[in-house]
Symmetry: C2
Subunit: 200 residues, 2 copies
Amino acid sequence: MAAAGEAKRLTRRGSERRRQLLDFATERFAAEGYHATSVAEVVHGVGVGKGVFYWYFESKEALFEEILRETQADFRRALLEAIGSEEDVVRRIELGLRASIRWLDAHRNLLDLFQFAATESRFAPTLHQSQERLFHELDRHIADGVDQGRLRQADPALLTQAILGVLTQLTRSFLRDDGPPADEVADAAVSFCLGGLLPR
Amino acid sequence: MAAAGEAKRLTRRGSERRRQLLDFATERFAAEGYHATSVAEVVHGVGVGKGVFYWYFESKEALFEEILRETQADFRRALLEAIGSEEDVVRRIELGLRASIRWLDAHRNLLDLFQFAATESRFAPTLHQSQERLFHELDRHIADGVDQGRLRQADPALLTQAILGVLTQLTRSFLRDDGPPADEVADAAVSFCLGGLLPR
DNA sequence: GGCTCTCTTGACCGTCGGGTCTAGTTTGAT
DNA sequence: ATCAAACTAGACCCGACGGTCAAGAGAGCC
């Protein structure tokens, strides 16, 4: 069985197998959902026996959590990179929104996966843990903006969540094959959110 | 087994049992989630045998769909009642937002249930069907507002979804026992959305 | 009493799916 | 060559759960 706390020693071959399983499972979870994707399906898809799965992962649940953490970390990385060293608060928010939509467009159905994780009490903590830092940073920026008088006087936490709501919903609704280009969605999100954020 | 298309003839005793099951299951689904709530748990909670469940419902899935339709219909009813005969477009949106938050506050965890349904491909159609009319009406109001120049020039469908996103997220984040009063959340939602909607 | 139709019981069934285990094979260090 | 550790196969185990069924109990009607 897989080691609990400490990482296993893997050969090159081993880590490639692990990656294969991780990638394939991510794709299936995103496309079919967690419950609808069985371990048997995953190992069959990769073309290995079931024992291989449990050699690399403790359980289906642990695998899912790892996928959550990994994808969330990548999202965060893309976001920080996009914002870079921009100083202006409002501009930071705009850059962040656009980068988020670009990332989500490139990873489409991962959003369903996050959404699902948010509704299952056993996965919600993992999700929340990954998001916490991000929320916290966004909160701080917004609080700064409010202090500077650049943003509307309101509870920063509420503004943060409102922005996330717009982002989530627009992404879920419009980033599909028959939808408008991601840029247009991003424009709409930005102007709506800035309208909601800036003082009148 | 339960009749497929046509409704069954139920005595008074029968419809009371049915209601009991429906209410108890709704509560469990909302609290634990669909997968985590077994039929056995539901019948045990109501204190009846398993056969009773399948006397009144075709399947667990059918029950869940009925709950979805019923709760969505109630939400819609509350919304229409709140908006009433108000003429002003902007005011209608505000009334709608406030009524939605009030309803969701009174029904808390039903939002998780909707959210879950949206991520399962077999339930998404049911959910979408119930929501379609509502979205459509909201779309129309917003399109009117845009035409009248009362609202920012933008794709009404995008504006509609943005509003829903704000509503959903704020509700999910803040309507909990240790959260702020619903009125405050509603105020924030209204001012954010109107900021995003009105022309600058 | 007898007849029917609604309703109830709970043991039982079949399947599905996560997880285990044993008996191996491959790899790589010495 | 040898030995241990990394890896692999897939049959098997077992509990959970949705759903069925035969055998009735209650209630209303003649």
